[in-house]
Subunit: 248 residues, 2 copies
């Protein structure tokens, strides 16, 4: 059975961050929000920033203590902005997200975020199996709380792999012989127009091949280009007779 991944926000000061965190979670298909002693919740600012993720706020569980919010959780990761001196096991977002997703196949898991300024206290960190540190500019590590939730939620979504594939290219790549015919046609036109000197061809055709091969032309594009070449050879020919209008 697959369990959900619980997001726990501890002692959040700004209700806007709770709303923005809910929105961030929902964009990445997380839905289980626990709030430990938020300064103000429910709050109009939270609802406003949630922007359509207010269903997560409505279902959010408000707790008095972190222990209460972690009940039943078998694996717990805590976020830490500092690289602590005590050697608690530390990890990075990508690795942590993979671990959370893997553990969630066995048990409830939780990802804990501390108060905006102070982060998690040592006592709260002691509840965690691992600490995750989001890499940041060492001279400006002021990552907003909801931004941190967004980054972790994004990594969890990637780790789950549950998102649509990019659309596949549905055009037909030009075949090798179509490309060969195109290059022959192009060379012919360049010769006719005097741009390519047969006695001193230099690397012109190779450069043009490099360009068009890199572009991975499809059949339609080759037809357009050949239509242009034909029109250049015979300007009086009507556009409708070239491949262009038909193919576009």
């Amino acid at each position: 059975m697959k369990h959900s991944i619980r997001i726990v926000l501890v002692g959040t000061t700004h209700p806007g961050n709770i709303g923005a965190a809910a929105r961030a979670m929902k964009t990445m298909q997380l839905s289980e929000l626990y709030l430990v002693a938020p300064r103000s919740f429910p709050d109009a600012e939270a609802t406003s920033r949630a922007s359509g993720a207010d269903d997560l706020l409505a279902r959010a569980v408000v707790c008095d203590s972190l222990d209460e919010a972690l009940q039943g959780c078998g694996y717990i990761a805590g976020t830490s902005a500092r690289l602590r001196s005590l050697e608690w096991p530390m990890t990075r977002p990508r690795e942590c997200a993979k671990k959370l997703v893997a553990e969630a196949s066995n048990a409830r898991v939780a990802l804990v975020f501390g108060q905006e300024k102070a982060g998690l206290s040592n006592q709260e960190l002691d509840r965690c199996n691992v600490l995750v540190n989001i890499p940041c500019n060492p001279e400006y590590s002021s990552l907003n709380l909801a931004m941190a939730v967004q980054l972790m939620a994004y990594e969890i979504m990637l780790a789950r792999g549950e998102f649509a594939d990019l659309p596949e290219r549905d055009d037909v790549p030009a075949s090798a012989d179509e490309m060969a015919n195109f290059y022959a046609h192009l060379e012919q036109v360049l010769l006719e127009k005097g741009f390519l000197d047969p006695h001193n061809p230099r690397h012109l055709m190779r450069r043009l091949r490099r360009l068009f091969n890199r572009s991975e032309l499809d059949q339609n594009e080759v037809n357009i280009l050949r239509g242009i070449l034909a029109a250049v050879q015979n300007p009086k020919r009507r556009a409708s007779e070239t491949g262009q209008r038909k193919e576009q």
Copy 2:
């Protein structure tokens, strides 16, 4: 020469998003912000949300058109929330960030974000070499603009690899013979206390070995555990004589 990666925000409606985007950029060591026809800039809300990244706002370049903002850029990626039907080359954030970082060794590069609701227009997309799509919940893809900047900036930082390593473990792992002595001691205590039945040991010692081996104990921890075992064997012994106080 390594060039910076320019972040271009087109037609931003909410000045708060400009500030939050600047903050997001700075946390990930990006500094070059271009604004195309923002609805309101400079703006107190932008400054407030920038929260210490106001130097980026002060240096931000405001342009009338996207063409102006892209001047001199040799590689341009545009963000797209939709998976478009026209087959413009599309990519994912991780891949896109690697490409931007690689291209930035040759030329100025830009990453373009459209207006909050509408995104980039087709005319604006036509300026791009590639479109990047951030994977999202298909039923709620309402990713905030500044959040999208944060995610891309994070991927760019990872692609650059310019962030501090996690601190190395500076404790000394327990050696094989220290572990063997510990297990012998543990087994002895369990026999003495009658918890381990020598005639029916089952898998008790194997289970305990699995637990402690998985924990990758360090020398200090083994000393603590052996101190506890000794105290269990001889409760009258003072704590100061065990390894505990000394080692902790």
